[in-house]
């Protein structure tokens, strides 16, 4: 599975709407993307990667595309 598909899956699962999140989704465009959802996204990424994200990485997450970029780079 590519990084974009993995990002969509992680964010969809975190926001309890699996399959409904596309690569173009952003925190400002998805109603379910609230603070608890954001925490679940970070936790999902750290589970996927097997290590904690850095401060800069956490602070940079505002979109599914950014999640994909981080998954690709890490």
């Amino acid at each position: 599975m590519g990084s974009e598909a993995r990002a969509c899956a992680i964010v969809g699962d975190a926001l309890n709407c699996p399959g409904a999140i596309g690569i173009g989704a952003e925190m400002n465009s998805v109603a379910a993307w609230d603070s608890l959802g954001h925490m679940a996204i970070v936790a999902g990424m750290e589970r996927e990667l097997g290590h904690a994200l850095t401060a800069e990485q956490i602070a940079s997450i505002t979109s599914v595309r950014r999640v994909a970029e981080l998954l690709e780079a890490l």
Partner: protein, 192 residues
């Protein structure tokens, strides 16, 4: 800076009621023993004494620190509080906590902070809001990014949690007035 008088502010779901020292102490007193809130505000779950809270807690001062109770419309009991501290150089800093867990994950902070930023940018000469957040306080980071704040820097190994020993990084956010008024949360006051 002369004394500012601020009346209650209204959002879609909340009344932001200005509080004096005694009321703010009453509303936030439980925070001194709430590990989740203490971790968010002070990066430790160690309970705080009343004396410490009076000196270092998020309480109002006459001229430059303001506290607002966050009260759902139609109710009387605050679910949290938001403080704003004005600096003499036209910057402002906010501190917020929602102690009612039923409201977590419901964008309370985004809604309340947006209203306060509109007010302070419009009426109080503020040119910049900034925030300094524990990098593991993901909920707080979310609220800053959701409001459009820029991540402008990181302090690495800035503090240590005295309870867990964890070394903590901080992330810095800022938002300038001219940037805010172009964004989706700006609501121009009458006559502007």
């Amino acid at each position: 800076m002369s004394k500012l008088v601020i009346g209650p502010l209204e959002t879609e779901r909340f009344i932001l009621k200005p509080m004096g020292m005694l009321e703010a102490l009453r509303v936030t007193n439980r925070w001194r023993h709430d590990p989740d809130i203490l971790n968010g505000l002070m990066q430790t779950s160690k309970p705080r004494s009343l004396g410490h809270w009076l000196l270092r807690g998020p309480l109002p001062r006459t001229r430059n620190r303001f506290a607002f109770a966050i009260i759902p419309k139609g109710e009387t009991v605050p679910i949290g509080a938001h403080m704003v501290r004005l600096q003499g150089y036209r910057s402002a800093f906010g501190t917020v906590a929602v102690h009612d867990r039923n409201w977590w994950g419901r964008n309370v902070v985004v809604e309340a902070r947006a209203r306060l930023m509109n007010h302070f940018f419009a009426h109080c000469g503020v040119e910049r809001f900034y925030g300094v957040v524990d990098s593991r306080n993901v909920a707080s980071i979310f609220s800053y990014r959701r409001l459009g704040f820029d991540h402008v820097g990181t302090w690495h190994r800035q503090k240590q949690n005295p309870v867990t020993g964890e070394v903590i990084d901080f992330v810095n956010f800022e938002m300038f007035r001219d940037q805010w008024v172009k964004g989706p949360f700006w609501e121009a006051p009458d006559g502007q």
